[in-house]
């Protein structure tokens, strides 16, 4: 275990050290101390390393992550794991706005609640939130899966494309073109797998599925009445 104490090591040096971990490195576990809400911690990683952040982070922690596993032992600021490509990011506490925004792959687990715009514009990432999510979540979400064990705020899945949304609790309102859909066996299997990987105890049968009505997929060129 290698330790980077942000009370002593500057952000640039810390990220540069983590970026330098090639796939062959045997320094595979790292611990970051005293994050104190700093921004851009452990962003742009591209190696199968494990990083544990001991505390809460500012904006864009784990941004554009590839391969790495990042544990945040606290809460995360806006844009955590934004545009993640692969790997895993786990947040013990809550996540602020835009968690997992535009993510292309990997798994984001939020053990507390997530704020507004969780999974906005997601492009393949899987997100599991143990608690609730805020308004405008999964806005323009393109693909991937968002699982919410609690409730969802207003305008869930507005202008949704092919992303799959599962909510166990209530949904305050659905956004434009987002509808409830039938839960089929393949969805239950998908959910079971994600819940297990995310360490959530909820049962797949307790969820409802939401997806795109696909009504906004074409501009109605012949719009004439």
């Amino acid at each position: 275990m290698q330790t980077l104490d942000m009370a002593e090591v500057a952000l640039r040096e810390m990220n540069a050290t983590l970026h330098a971990q090639a796939e062959t490195s045997n320094q595979t576990t790292w611990e970051i101390l005293n994050p104190k809400g700093a921004h851009a911690i452990a962003c742009g990683l591209d190696a199968p390393i494990e990083v544990t952040v001991k505390g809460s982070t500012g904006y864009y922690c784990g941004g554009m992550n590839k391969q790495a596993t990042i544990h945040i032992k606290g809460s995360a600021g806006p844009g955590v794991a934004e545009n993640m490509m692969s790997g895993t990011v786990v947040i013990e506490g809550d996540a602020s706005q835009y968690a997992g925004a535009t993510g292309h792959g990997g798994l984001l687990v939020i053990k507390g609640n997530a704020s507004s715009r969780c999974g906005i514009s997601m492009k393949g990432i899987d997100i599991v939130v143990h608690g609730n999510i805020g308004h405008m979540s999964a806005f323009m979400a393109q693909s991937g899966t968002l699982v919410v064990c609690g409730d969802a705020g207003e305008a869930l899945g507005d202008s949704l494309y092919e992303a799959r949304l599962f909510v166990r609790g209530s949904v305050k309102s659905l956004g434009a073109d987002c509808i409830e859909k039938e839960m089929r066996p393949e969805h239950l299997a998908l959910l079971a797998d994600l819940l297990e990987r995310a360490g959530a105890t909820a049962k797949p049968e307790e969820f409802k599925r939401y997806g795109s009505a696909r009504e906004l997929y074409t501009f109605k060129i012949d719009n004439a009445y």
């Binding site: 640039r12 742009g44 864009y60 806006p78 934004e82 715009r117 906005i120 492009k123 393109q142 060129i221």
Partner: protein, 447 residues
């Protein structure tokens, strides 16, 4: 004019300037279809522009340089503020970001080829980076757009600069559109979307909202790219003084400012023609913002929107820009709207020079299309050759003017080299009206 029924004199029928034939035709089209007009290109209306400025040239009080022999430098360095490796260009004319999707892959390749031959940069666009354009572009600027289509850290690190797109001159405040006809398998895959849908690109970034957030976003991008490459911020010509100030505050190395004449791949006509300011009105304000911050020339200013010739380049630079960028003109150089395809333009209900239904993907010239048959008409090597020629001509023209003004570097052109032909241009560019030492709003005058 006489009444044909009885030979009595009568008034000549007069067409309304307000309800002109094109206006009425548009009303009829809207009434018939119920949908607004979507098109490509920039504003078509006449606007105050670089044509309304003239150079004074050297005379008794200024000493010209010899037209062909004396040195007149054209190089420019972009991104000197924070980036470890700024971009060095031989000429101050860059190729603007145009999306793969709106343009075919061979057209993108041709832009890279031409720009590389001419010693300048080209830019990706919405939809991500193609290997063709990376491979053929010596200096490639990677756009970071609200949609984040195809955005990934590998391409980000392959880029020579990053351009965060906040807005475009053709549609400040608007997102993008790419209609189903152009969502081929490859485009769909790069954008992670179902094939054939009418795609919308968001108008706002998904993970930051204002300049304070953007400052942190820039920190993240710099951390991911090791502080090596310059970060540009592109804005449409909306509130250039404040937009420039805030872009600089957010940490931009370069501000890219695109006036309302700037082209787009596809947007509502009403947006193109009615939102934003002409570039002539924007440059001075952006320069003033940089000067007020004490950062003119340290944060470079790249301007675009209707730039066509070396004269336009020289005028933009005399107003204080460090470089310009071109979209529409580059496409025309490649062969867009060429009269050689007139019969086919006619078959599409239009004519060469007016063809702007780029979103339909039926471009006879094979440039703004994803149709394999049409794409085959376009040769990227020949396209690159033509673009290089055109860029060279623009550079020679700008040098000719600079030498005539006694300048041994295009950057030495200055507002004092200019006069304005119209009151509007004088007021917008803050350049004296020809024959006077005055422009409307000049400090110390009461007008």
């Amino acid at each position: 004019m006489t009444d044909p029924r009885n030979g009595a004199p009568r008034t000549t029928p007069i067409q309304s300037a307000t309800f002109s034939n094109p206006v009425n035709a548009e009303i009829r089209r809207a009434a018939a279809t119920g949908i607004y007009d979507i098109r490509g290109g920039g504003a078509k209306r006449k606007l105050p522009h670089f044509d309304d400025l003239l150079f004074l040239g050297a005379s008794m009080s200024r000493y010209p340089l010899e037209g062909y022999r004396e040195k007149c430098e054209t190089s420019v360095t972009l991104g000197t503020r924070f980036a470890k490796t700024p971009i060095q260009l031989d000429i101050p004319v860059t190729i603007a970001g145009m999306s793969f999707g709106s343009l075919s892959a061979p057209a993108k390749e041709a832009l890279g080829r031409g720009a590389t031959l001419a010693g300048t940069s080209t830019t990706t666009g919405d939809g991500g980076m193609t290997k063709e354009e990376r491979g053929h572009s010596n200096k490639l600027v990677y756009q970071y757009l609200p949609s984040r289509y195809g955005m990934n850290p590998d391409d980000l690190r392959r880029a020579d600069a990053i351009e965060i797109v906040v807005g475009q001159g053709a549609k400040p405040g608007g997102g993008g559109m790419l209609l189903g006809q152009k969502i081929s398998d490859r485009v769909a895959e790069m954008r992670n979307l179902p094939k054939g849908i009418d795609q919308r690109s968001a108008c706002r970034h998904p993970d930051w909202t204002g300049p304070d957030d953007l400052e942190i976003k820039i920190l993240e991008l710099r951390e991911i790219t090791g502080w090596k490459v310059p970060i540009y911020i592109k804005v449409g010509g909306a509130r250039p003084y404040f937009d420039t100030t805030l872009a600089v505050k957010a940490g931009a190395d370069v501000v890219v400012l695109d006036g309302m004449q700037g082209g787009t791949a596809a947007t509502q006509d009403v947006f193109i023609e009615h939102v934003g300011q002409p570039i002539l009105a924007c440059i001075g304000e952006a320069v003033r913002a940089l000067q007020d911050l004490g950062l003119h020339r340290e944060v470079q200013l790249v301007v675009s929107g209707g730039i066509r010739s070396g004269a336009d380049v020289a005028k933009a630079m005399a107003l204080g820009a460090d470089a310009v960028s071109i979209g529409t003109a580059a496409l025309i150089a490649l062969g867009d709207n060429d009269p050689r395809w007139e019969a086919e333009y006619n078959a599409l209900g239009t004519t060469a020079g007016a063809y702007d239904d780029w979103h339909e993907g039926q471009d006879p010239a094979g440039i703004t299309t994803q149709d394999p048959e049409l794409m085959r008409r376009f040769d990227p090597v020949e396209g690159g050759r033509r673009l290089n020629n055109y860029l060279r001509v623009m550079t020679l023209e700008a040098q000719t003017i600079a030498r005539a003004c006694g300048k041994n570097h295009l950057h030495n052109l200055e507002p004092e080299d200019l006069c304005a032909l119209t009151m509007e241009a004088a007021a917008m560019a803050k350049i004296p009206l020809a024959g006077t030492d005055w422009y409307p709003g000049k400090p110390g005058t009461s007008y």
